[in-house]
Point group: C2
Chain length 429, copies 2
C-alpha cells in the first residue's frame, strides 16, 4: 500500500524533496519496499511552474487541505517561519500524522508543545534537516551513539559566519568586506543579523542539547556573542599563537547542569574544527564510549537539506508500513535544563589591549589580572607604532567569566588604554 | 517483556558491551522502553573473572548453548575469527535470531551466505562495529544518506597504518622504527601484516561497497598496496609539494562499474582527510544530494567498538519489541560488483626516480613519459649529492595505470636509473 505524503511549501527545499522522491522511487520501492505518493501540496501561488509533474488537483493554496486529506500520512513542512507553521504542524500531529520539518527556528523557539504532541500521539516529528543540513547528526545522537553518555559537543553550526571567518583568515580582510562578499556569493542573506549575531547557531545548539542531554532550553537562555567585532588583527595574532577563530556552539554536561554558549573561539591548530573552511558545518561530539567524533558536511542548500528531509521521511514511512508507533515520544516530556550562568563559565581568553606604548603598561595590566587571581600564559608585544598606540596581546589561563569581566573592566579604565579590550575565549575541548 | 541477549565471546569488546548495557540500563528502559537481559554468555574459560556480575548458570563454554537458548532473541558475536564464528552466526540466523557482530574479516571474506540467510529469515545482521569502530558509518550509509546516490567514498580505514604514517610525517622517520613504536604503544599487533599490507582496509572497503553500491565483491578483488615501501624521503617531498601521504580505501561508481582500491595516496593539503592524525579513522562520502561529508572518530578499541555493537543491538531490540521484521533483507541478494580492472584506473602519480646526476636525464625520462601519452605537471630536482645519485621527483597528470606501468618499466631500464622508481598515486577527490 502506498504511503501518502503531503507537502506544505514547495520552494527550494520542497522542490529538492520532490526531485529525490522522483529520482529514487525505484530504489525506495525495490530496496525499502516503500511506495511513496505525494498526495497533496500546499503552495502560495498555483500558477507558478513546479519542479514536479503532479495532477493539478493535488495542488492547493490551503495548507489545511494537506493535513485534512485522509490519504496523507506524513506531512512535510517546508514553508518556514513560525506563524502559521507552528499551528499547522500542531494540527497535523494532533490528527495523528507524522511530521518532517526543516524549521529550526520554530522547533527551537516554540517547539515544546510540538514535541509533546508528537509524544502524546505516538507519531514522529522528524527534524534532521533543521540542524546542519544534510549531516545526519540527529540520527547519530539518537541512534548511532545511543550507547554513549554525551559529555560535550562543539559545533560550527552556521555556514554564513564560517564562510566570513574563513575568508577573513585567508584574505587577511576585515569583517565588513567579507560579509559583503558572502552576500554577493549567496552565503549570507540581505539581512544577515540572525546569522552573524549567533542566533541561528543558538537555535541549533538548543535542539542539539535536547537530543544530547535530554533537557529543554530556550535559545534566548544560551550565552551568545556574534562575530562582527572580530578584526583582521585578531585573526593575525590568532594565527601567530596557533589558533583559528571560529564561531562555535558549545554545550557540556557538568554534573546535573548544562553549559551552553555560542561565541567566537580560538580553536587550536591540530583540532579538526580549526580546519573546517568556508560554508561547511561540523559537529564534534564527545561520548563516554566513543570519545571524540566529528561530523562534517554542507549545512544548508537545497539538496543537502532535502536529503535530510528524505532520510526522516523514509524512516517514518518504514514505521508506518510496519504499523509501529514512532519514537517521537523520546524527546518529550523533558525537564528544563539547569544552565550554568555566564559568571561561572571558565575558559582561557585571548585579550587584545590597545595601549599607549610606554614603560610600566605590561606590569600594571598583569597586576590587575593577578588581583582577581587570573594568571597569564603568553604575552605578545611587537615593536612600536607611529600612532603611539600598540596592540598588547595576552593569553590567560582558565578563569571564570566573573573574574575576567572584573579584570577587563579595570584594565579598560587605565589611562594608557585607548580602546576597550577585545576578548575572545579559547577552546580547550 | 525483556529482550534476551546472548553473547558469544566475553573478551575486550564483549566486556565493553556488558558494561554499557549495565551502566545505561535505566536509559534504555525509561527512554527506549527496552528491558535488555543478558541470558547466556559463551566463554572459553569459565574460571576467568568477568566484567559483569551474572549468575553462574548464565555462562557456558558451548556457543551453541547461547544460540539454542529459547529466551535469547539477539546474539552478539564478539569471538572473532572465521571458524567457527561463521557457522555459529549462520545457525543463529537460521534459528530466527538477530545477530550483531564486529567481525569484519568474516563478513567481508565469507559473509555472502550470512547476509542471504538474514534476508531469507527477515532477521537483522548488524555490523556497525566491523567498520571504523564507533563511527556510525553503516547507519549513515543505510539510513542517513538514503536520499543519495552514493558517488564515491574515500576512507582512512585502518588506524595502525594511519598512526605509522602520521608518526613518519611528524618525526621525519622511516617506516620500520615507527612500526616498532606503534607496536610498543599498542596501535599495531605483533604480526601487523594484515594492517600494513592493506588487507584490513580492503575488507572494510568491501563492506562499504556492499552498503554504498549494493554490490558484492571479495576483498581479494580489490586493488591493494600497503605502506611498507613508503620512505621519509617521500613524505618530505610530499610535504614540499603540498600533500600528506595516507593509506586510503577508495571506491567509486563509474557507470555500472565500481572502482575499488586500497593504496597509499598523496592527499592534497586542504582536504580534511589530510588532517586525520594518529590512530583515528575517517570516511569521506560523496552523495548526489549532500555532496561531500566526512565522518571522523576512533576506529578501534574496546569502548568505541562496544558503542557500535550497542547501537545495532538497540535498533534490533526496538524492532523485536515492536514485532516488526528487520531490514537485514536490504543487503541480499546482491549482484556481483563489476570491477574496473587495474589497467584502466586513471590517476596522477608522484614518481621518485633515483638517478645518476648527469646531463640529459630529465629529457630522457620526460621523453619516455610522453611516448605513452603521459604529461608532467611538476618536476623537483634539488642540488647534487656526494654519492652521485639524486632523487628526481615528477608529478604526472592523470594517466591510466597501464600507460604508467609501461613508462615506469622503461624508465627503470635506463642505465642512469640506479633504483626502481617509487610511484604513489595522487588523490583528486
Amino acid at each position: 500500500m502506498a504511503i501518502g505524503i503531503g507537502l506544505i511549501g514547495m520552494g527550494v527545499v520542497g522542490g529538492g524533496v520532490a526531485r529525490i522522491l522522483n529520482e529514487r522511487a525505484d530504489f525506495f520501492k525495490n530496496v525499502k519496499g516503500l511506495d511513496l505518493d505525494i498526495r497533496k501540496v500546499a503552495v502560495r501561488d498555483l500558477s507558478k511552474p513546479r519542479a514536479i509533474d503532479l495532477p493539478t488537483d493535488r495542488f492547493t493554496t490551503d495548507p489545511m487541505d494537506v493535513i485534512n486529506d485522509p490519504s496523507v500520512q506524513i506531512v512535510i513542512e517546508v514553508m518556514g517561519g513560525i506563524d502559521p507553521a507552528h499551528d499547522l504542524i500542531l494540527s497535523a500531529l494532533k490528527a495523528g500524522k507524522d511530521v518532517v520539518t526543516a524549521n529550526k527556528a520554530l522547533l527551537a523557539e516554540q517547539g515544546d508543545d510540538l514535541f509533546e504532541m508528537a509524544a502524546q500521539k505516538q507519531v514522529g516529528l522528524g527534524f534532521e534537516a533543521s540542524i546542519c543540513g544534510g549531516i545526519p547528526i540527529v540520527q547519530t545522537l539518537s541512534q548511532g551513539l545511543v550507547g554513549n553518555n554525551i559529555e560535550s559537543l562543539y559545533g560550527i553550526l552556521n555556514g554564513t559566519t564560517n564562510y566570513i571567518l574563513t575568508r577573513m583568515t585567508e584574505a587577511g580582510a576585515n569583517f565588513d568586506p567579507m560579509l559583503k562578499e558572502a552576500q554577493d556569493k549567496g552565503f549570507a542573506e540581505a539581512d544577515p543579523t540572525m546569522d552573524i549575531d549567533g542566533t541561528d547557531a543558538a537555535q541549533k545548539l538548543a535542539l542539539l542539547c535536547r537530543l544530547a542531554f535530554r533537557a529543554k532550553l530556550s535559545p534566548s537562555n544560551i550565552i551568545k556573542e556574534g562575530i562582527s567585532h572580530i578584526t583582521a588583527l585578531d585573526i593575525d595574532f590568532a594565527r601567530e599563537l596557533g589558533y583559528t577563530i571560529k564561531l562555535l556552539g558549545i554545550a557540556k554536561a557538568v554534573g546535573d547542569r548544562i553549559e551552553a554558549r555560542v561565541h567566537p573561539a580560538m580553536v587550536p591548530h591540530g583540532e579538526l574544527l580549526a580546519d573546517i573552511r568556508n560554508e561547511f558545518n561540523a559537529v564534534e561530539i564527545v561520548g563516554s564510549a566513543v570519545d571524540s567524533q566529528v561530523f562534517y558536511g554542507k549545512g544548508a542548500g537545497e539538496m543537502p537539506t532535502a536529503s535530510a528531509v528524505v532520510a526522516d521521511l523514509i524512516g517514518l514511512a518504514e514505521k508506518r508500513q510496519a504499523g509501529v508507533p514512532s519514537i517521537g515520544s523520546a524527546l518529550a516530556p523533558l525537564p528544563d535544563a539547569k544552565l550554568i550562568p555566564l559568571d561561572e563559565v571558565n575558559t582561557g581568553c585571548y585579550c587584545r589591549f590597545t595601549v599607549n606604548d610606554r614603560p610600566g603598561v605590561l606590569a600594571q595590566i598583569a597586576t590587575l589580572f593577578s588581583g582577581v587571581g587570573i594568571s597569564i600564559e603568553t604575552v605578545i608585544q611587537h615593536g612600536r607604532s607611529e600612532s603611539g598606540t600598540v596592540p598588547l596581546i595576552m593569553i590567560t589561563h582558565d578563569a571564570t567569566e566573573a573574574a575576567m569581566r572584573t579584570a577587563i573592566s579595570r584594565i579598560n579604565d587605565l589611562s594608557f588604554v585607548t580602546e576597550d579590550a577585545q576578548v575572545i575565549r579559547i577552546l580547550h575541548p
